[in-house]
Symmetry: C2
Subunit: 419 residues, 2 copies
DNA sequence: CATGTTAGTTTGAGGCTCGCACAAACATAG
DNA sequence: CTATGTTTGTGCGAGCCTCAAACTAACATG
């Protein structure tokens, strides 16, 4: 029956670098060659990824999609069934012309969950996420006014502890979305504005040591992207970008079918790209960063200048509401805001051409109206190559998107084989 | 002796998509799985790539670098030796401690060359390039004032014909650097400013049909990058960017050990990213593109305003010469020019963080002085992550860089297995 | 009930890398 | 000159993986 012997480490890469004890970067050989074992692991990952993207699917269908033999899929899938990672669903009656009914495969309902964590300057939020994207066992801890290093670590540990206690099976890992700069190789925090006590924190190593689970960090915008890739509008896409707007600006890229991370996890710091040389002074001390014209700070100042009611409380949602109520000044400001956001997206499109954008953060509150306005401006600002259209989507609401993204970091690491 | 049977298609991918007759995009399955044959092809490519990057190297050394068994390298390399793609060099005397002398492997001196082509609005230039980066059999054809479609195609064919006639062995393929927009998937030209007769030209398919060789196109900046990757400062790097400045601005990216191409080969159109919202009108009709402040056009206008001699003839080389001769106005303009170039590079660094930049085009004439000025400005404009330093290099002179790059396109395609 | 169609499994063959053992070619110490 | 150690490169069998072909199971249709 079953297994050809390749099932011992299901859901694990051939050489899982997160198994290293210390937090140092994995000593992965530079341009290593491929071995049969890696092929097995990589193909298993691709099959699971395809299953994820397609929903419940039969072996035959998976084989057709991947362009491989049915027997290959059977060989990959059988150990996963034996291990209860996957289950066979009810037979789907054959369509016209007859034929044996297909047995769709899907992740077991009681498959191992993922622990997602959102770490912000003033609080930590943890939860469990199922492979189908359901969130449960949510816990929040605030750090209190002192925000000392100890208090933060205690709060993180407490929240994680309570969330993990709710898991019926051991989670696949812990994914952390950090509201600050992260060194993804070292799985440590570089710096968090407003919470300097976190600077240099070796969080990945600490979580692994304490809870015995693999832990992965990334900064907030990249987590949003990863969440979209696994649980949202980016599912199955080969190229897309996530753009976060709010008090700050950030972004992340999915390029050529894989998450893009620069050296040490750099890249995507869109907020401090220049769109207005010698423009307004930015919080970073430079002039003319995109952040100076496409954040809530700009919006509030302009709302004040335009005489809009309660300018200090303005955001995309309220602005759109005013505009739709017929407030001309609000409509005009809405358009300028959309234009300013579009400028950075247009630059991104010219630079790496993801062609598809998922908007997160404050603009989500602006709904379809704001999205359409941004899209129109981007299309006007990008020279036409006559090849493909630009697509725009709205992401999930803020906390939910971040938690799903944090969980997605674990999936990316487990299924995204280092080829 | 020899071959384990994997040598029939040396230097060819498992499924060479350039073998398709028509110019349609290759119907490569979306997320295909890996097979043994692909492993062999990919590993062969990686070994050759490593050899390229390291220079003459013994099997044992290659095995150590790749972290694989010596027998594996032998198995990969033996068919290549049988086919005269590689040759064994003279034994290298063993160092201290004795041991059998190593036999370094290197590409055969009479290995198949590559045909490189540089296609500009007014002329075509072809040549042969050896695997060691030597250029020969250069031919140039001008299109004449009419620049009709027929004249252009005749000129291309004539130059190619003469260059190919000089090849002792059949070239591996034809690589074309195009001074315009290219659809790399379809291997066709989208548009060339100043030469609208080229628009829509299916050049890749035409060359393959006429000369029976695989042909690959890309736009000029990406060819420069590829040339750097194989024959220049980008050799062996995992991340770097090429930036071209001159009458126009362009760029290309090498990310995570592979050439980045967006959908249909988009990406890298840096010249029309916005750095000055509502700034000066650009040739594209928009306002504030990077091109409006970092091209020779800007430099000439500013030189005129600054009262520099012969402003219409100014370029980086002359500007640096003036500055070094003590012309204060030239020194001040040089610094502003460097700053303007640096703005776009800083944006690129913030977006994808290549960390390493190779400068091409006009700025090369400015030499170390201009390079240092640009580097200083970029370092000032990019927030410090405390992780890694930025590196800057000057590329080769203009035509040489482009021809090497065109040839490199063929290497990239043959050695860069689609994993 | 015979025939056609599709899903999934069994079996053997072929490719690839790996570990082990072995021959070849050096250096060094005695 | 001989014995020993070291490094390079080469057979050989084992293990893993995919593939093709043949086979069974489960449905439709006439």
């Amino acid at each position: 029956m079953s297994g050809r012997g390749n099932g011992e480490g299901v859901f694990e890469a051939a050489a899982p670098d997160w198994s290293f004890e210390d937090g140092e970067g994995a000593p992965r050989p530079q341009a290593s060659l491929l071995s049969s074992a890696m092929v097995g692991s990589a193909n298993r990952g691709r099959v699971l990824q395809a299953l994820f993207d397609l929903g419940p699917t039969s072996r035959a269908e998976l084989a057709r999609r991947a362009g491989v033999n049915r027997t290959t899929i059977s060989g990959i899938v059988q150990p996963l069934l034996d291990q209860q990672v996957l289950v066979e669903g009810e037979p789907i009656p054959s369509s016209e012309g007859g034929g044996k009914p297909a047995r769709p495969l899907w992740f077991a309902p009681d498959a191992r969950p993922i622990c997602g964590m959102l770490l912000m300057p003033d609080s930590v939020r943890t939860c469990l996420v199922t492979l189908e994207g359901r969130i449960s066992a949510e816990h929040v801890e605030a750090f209190g006014p002192s925000r000392g290093s100890d208090a933060i670590e205690r709060a993180i540990a407490a929240a994680t502890e309570r969330t993990l206690a709710a898991a019926h099976r051991e989670p696949l890992g812990i994914g952390v979305a950090v509201g600050g700069m992260v060194d993804t190789d070292r799985r440590s925090i570089i710096a968090v504005n407003l919470a300097p006590a976190m600077n240099g924190l070796q969080l990945g190593a600490a979580l692994t040591r304490r809870f015995g689970l693999p832990a992965f960090l990334d900064h907030h915008p990249r987590a949003l992207l990863v969440g979209d890739r696994w649980f949202g509008k980016g599912r199955g896409a080969r190229h897309f970008a996530a753009v976060y707007t709010g008090e700050v600006l950030g972004g992340a890229l999915y390029l050529g079918g894989r998450l893009y991370r620069g050296p040490s996890g750099a890249g995507g710091e869109l907020g401090h790209t220049f769109v207005q040389v010698d423009g307004a002074v930015c919080s970073c001390g430079r002039r003319g960063c995109w952040e100076t014209i496409a954040t809530l700070g700009w919006l509030r100042r302009e709302a004040q200048a335009a005489g809009i009611a309660e300018p200090e409380r303005i955001d995309s949602a309220r602005l759109v509401a005013f505009a739709e109520a017929g407030d001309a000044a609000a409509g005009e400001l809405l358009d300028r805001y959309a234009r300013n956001v579009a400028v950075g997206i247009a630059n991104l499109e010219q630079t790496v051409a993801p062609n598809s954008y998922i908007l997160h953060g404050d603009v989500v509150g602006g709904g379809e109206r704001l999205k359409a306005a941004i899209a129109a401006h981007v299309r006007r600002l990008v020279p036409d190559r006559g090849t493909g259209e630009l697509a725009f989507h709205l992401g999930e609401t803020e906390d939910r998107a971040a938690l799903l993204g944090a969980a997605g970091l674990v999936l990316s690491e487990l299924l995204q084989f280092p080829l």
